[in-house]
Every structure is written in C-alpha cells, then in structure tokens.
Symmetry: C2
Subunit: 248 residues, 2 copies
DNA sequence: ATGATTGCAAGAGCACTGCTCTCTATGAGT
DNA sequence: ACTCATAGAGAGCAGTGCTCTTGCAATCAT
C-alpha cells in the first residue's frame, strides 16, 4: 500500500511520484510498471549476478505477487532479453559519449576514448557486461532487436577507422595475403567503414576482438598472476592495437 | 543394479567395469564413484549447459538419492570446481598434443597448431569452454589448483615464442615505448618465455587474448553478421597474430 | 572372531525457484 | 450505466539445493 491510501490523495505532479499508483492512463501505467520491474531486476543483477536473479524477489520488492509479474514479461528469459537490450544501448551510448568528447581529427585519441569507454562501463557494470559478453543463456537466440543495439559500439569503432583512412588519402598498406571475401561479410562491412580497404578488415576484427577479450579476461579473472595494473595494461594494449590498424 | 548381480561375479579387470559395484577397496570405490558423478555431470553439462545442471538429475542417472551425492561433493559449486579443473587439464592436454605434432623448428606452424587446438576443443566442448572462459559463477574464486591447470595453454604459447626467439638470435625489435614492468608481472612471466624481450610482452598478451577472444566471440554469437566462414577467419587471425608477435 | 567405529546411502523435509491456473476487483470504452 | 478487458491476488505444481536423521554394511582394533 502506498502512503496515498491515507488522507487526501496527492496527484503525481505534487509528489513527483512515478509509481503506478499515480493517476495515469492505462498505457502509461503499463510502461511505468515495466520500467519499474526492469529497474529492480537490474539492481538485483548488479548486486548478485544474473543467475541469482529471481522473479519472485523482484515482485517482492515491488510489493506485488510473483504471478502478477507475468502480465509484463511472459518468462524470465523475456525479462532478461529486455535487460540485455537496454544494456547494449547503455554501453553503446556510453562509448558514443566518450568518443564524442575528442576532437574529430584526433583519430587515435578517439580510438583510445572509445576503448576506454568500453572498459569503464564494463567495470562499472560488471554483471551487466557479463550478461552481454559472458556465457549466453542456454537456448537463447538473440532477437534481431538486440543485434542492432549490439552494433552501436562497433559502429563507433568502424567510423574511427574510416575517418582515419579519409584523413590520409594514400595508405601504404601491405599487400593482402588473403581475400577476406572468403570469410567476411564484406558487403555488410564495407558501408560501415568507407575508405578502409578490405585487406585491413582482419586487423580491424582483431582490434575489436581484443578490446572485448581484454575486458572479459580482466573481469573474469584470467589475468590474475599476469597483470599488476589493469588500467595501464589496457592503455598499452589499446595503443598497440591502434598501431596495428594503422591509426595516425 | 549392474549385471554382475546375476550369475558368477566378474572382477573389474574382466569387464573393464569402473562402476562402484565391482569389488574394490573403500578408497577405490570412492574415487570411482566420484569419477562416475563427474562423468554424468559432464555429459549433462555438455547437453544442456551449466545452468541446467542439477544435482538431483545426476543422482537420478546414477540410481542414487540426491542426498547421497553430498558425500562426494559438499556443494554444487564444489562439483563445478572439480569439473572446471578437469576441463582446464583436458584443454591443456589437447593443445599440447596438437602443438607437439609439428616440427620444433617450425615455430609458426606450432603457433597455428596450438591456436587451432584451442578452437577445436572449444567447438567440440562448447559448454565446458563456457565453463572456463564464460561468465564465472558468482562468488566463485578460482582455487589455486585450477589456476595452475589453466596455465597449461599459456605455457605452450609462451614456449613457442621463446623457441622462436632462440632460433633467430638478434631480433630487430622496435624500441619499447613503455616499461611493461609498470603493469605486468614480469618476474613471473620471464621464466616462462626466456629469450623474449619484455618489450614484446604486450604483443604476446594481445595474441593470447585475441585467440580466446575470437573463440569466445564465435561461440557466443558475436560474429554473426560479420563472419561467414569461421575456420578461415580464425586462420587469418592466427596468422596475423603470428606476424604481430614476430614469428618466423 | 567379535565388538566398536566409520562411511555410505536412503528418506523425509525445508525454503526456495519458474510458471500456471482461477478468481476478483477496478478502471476504460460503449 | 453496463459491459468487458485487465492487473493483481492466491493457491498450487513440479522442480531445485541442501540438511538432518536413521539404518545398514564394510572396515578396523581388540
């Protein structure tokens, strides 16, 4: 029961209340309740990890009974999918913001900022990062909607490479030893980084993979005994990767 | 009940039986039962993933009651830890075997074989790979015993770099721009790859990270829409990494 | 050989989970 | 004002990890 039960009811503009008890249209209530559920679930995941997320606990915190939750999310996986979608967008937004702060001409600085943005977000939200880049939930096939949300980070990285290529017109690239068309979706990749030669795609792929690989290794404890200062180590890796892809 | 219940009992050397029903000492029975439990658990994980592993199902398959299982593994996590330990050793052994098949002088071939060994094992045992390199179970701190098992693969990779460095005595390495002593456990690393200059460690780290990063990305679905032929892509990546670390 | 001790498994039970079903108020649309 | 869809309540099912007690059987010491 909310406090409004006693005395004169307050309307939402007075209380700043966003709870579904405030007067709202049915549709508004529904999205508000959905958001409240996701918010609580998010916090619980942040606290105790995905595997320990229980719908019953979420419902308890919201003061409702567990069965009522199924009006909003048909299954636990559906709730998780919604959270994954949100998390991808949050990570993407964080990286975009970090990268946007650097002068356009400084492609290496932008690369550094974007990579650091990934790591920063991951360290701030380790369990949500795991949700995205850890073991996928069994039987889970990413709905296409989450797939496009997932591309926000790679889009940023691709644009940096593209801008860098545009800056210095003639790139003295090594001769391609393999035709990447044999194993990469060149038609899909090319539009995202115009100006970058397909011969460079493998290195770009390595850079992308290494950024997330390093963050995962750090978070999942695989660097224990090897690395003493993760921040400096990551900086060094990111710089070396910038060299690899040939950033200015 | 095993077949030996009827007719003349056969001893284990005749049947090749490893079931605890065969006549054995108490200690032998215990390890046999432990092994049986792990074997069933392994199969169930391979089938349905870690999160769907249930101790009760394991006990059911073994024809015993669930509480009996706790004589062997005090908790679910303890069973998982045992499985993780075994998996690390299996992966390590597989990589060692693959790498050993290549002539010692062919360091690039050995590198390729080792990396392919990782990917091959991961694809053959995706759920166990996830157990090792996916999201760690929450609250799980790797017991030191699993840590050393985990180093088997990196030991192989380090030795390849070391042997390569020994072959061509004077390496024309670029000047180190950073002192890796600031962020790497150089004292622990150096003995594992004698002859390799610390300035090369960052690249070695990238190579190691990328190999597992690429395998994880492939298995966890992050390359969907980007890569069309995973085997060829992995080959290209491995080759590029060999270039990066300067293999012959 | 006999008696004490120890180890293994069974069974019942607790607190929890995801999820389904039926039922009842209450708000929305006619 | 009367329908009617909807959000939530409540009970319940099948499953989970784990604990505790009880009985039996193999081992050990005498």
């Amino acid at each position: 029961m909310s406090p409004e039960t006693f005395g004169a009811p307050l309307s939402s503009w007075q209380t700043g209340d966003v709870s579904p008890a405030a007067a709202k249209s049915r549709a508004q209530q529904r999205v508000a309740q959905s958001a409240a559920i996701k918010e609580v679930a998010r916090r619980l995941i942040a606290d105790k990890g995905v595997t320990n997320l229980s719908l019953r606990e979420v419902s308890r915190e919201l003061g409702m009974v567990s069965s009522a939750l199924y009006r909003y999310f048909a299954t636990r996986d559906e709730l998780l999918t919604a959270l994954i979608y949100d998390a991808y967008n949050e990570l993407g937004a964080a990286v975009e913001r970090a990268e946007a702060r650097v002068a356009r001409g400084d492609t290496r600085g932008r690369w550094r900022a974007a990579c650091l943005g990934v790591r920063r977000w991951a360290r701030a939200n380790p369990h949500e990062y795991s949700l995205l880049y850890g073991t996928p939930v069994p039987g889970y096939v990413a709905p296409s909607v989450t797939v496009v949300a997932a591309t926000r980070v790679t889009t940023v990285l691709a644009r940096i490479l593209s801008d860098d290529a545009a800056q210095r017109r003639a790139r003295p690239s090594r001769a391609p030893t393999r035709d990447v068309r044999d194993f990469l979706q060149v038609d899909a990749l090319a539009p995202t980084m115009p100006g970058v030669e397909p011969a460079q795609y493998v290195r770009a792929l390595i850079a992308w993979t290494t950024v997330f690989g390093a963050v995962s290794f750090e978070l999942f404890g695989h660097y224990v005994g090897t690395v003493t200062n993760y921040s400096r180590m990551f900086d060094a890796v990111v710089d070396e990767l910038a060299d690899l892809v040939g950033l200015a």
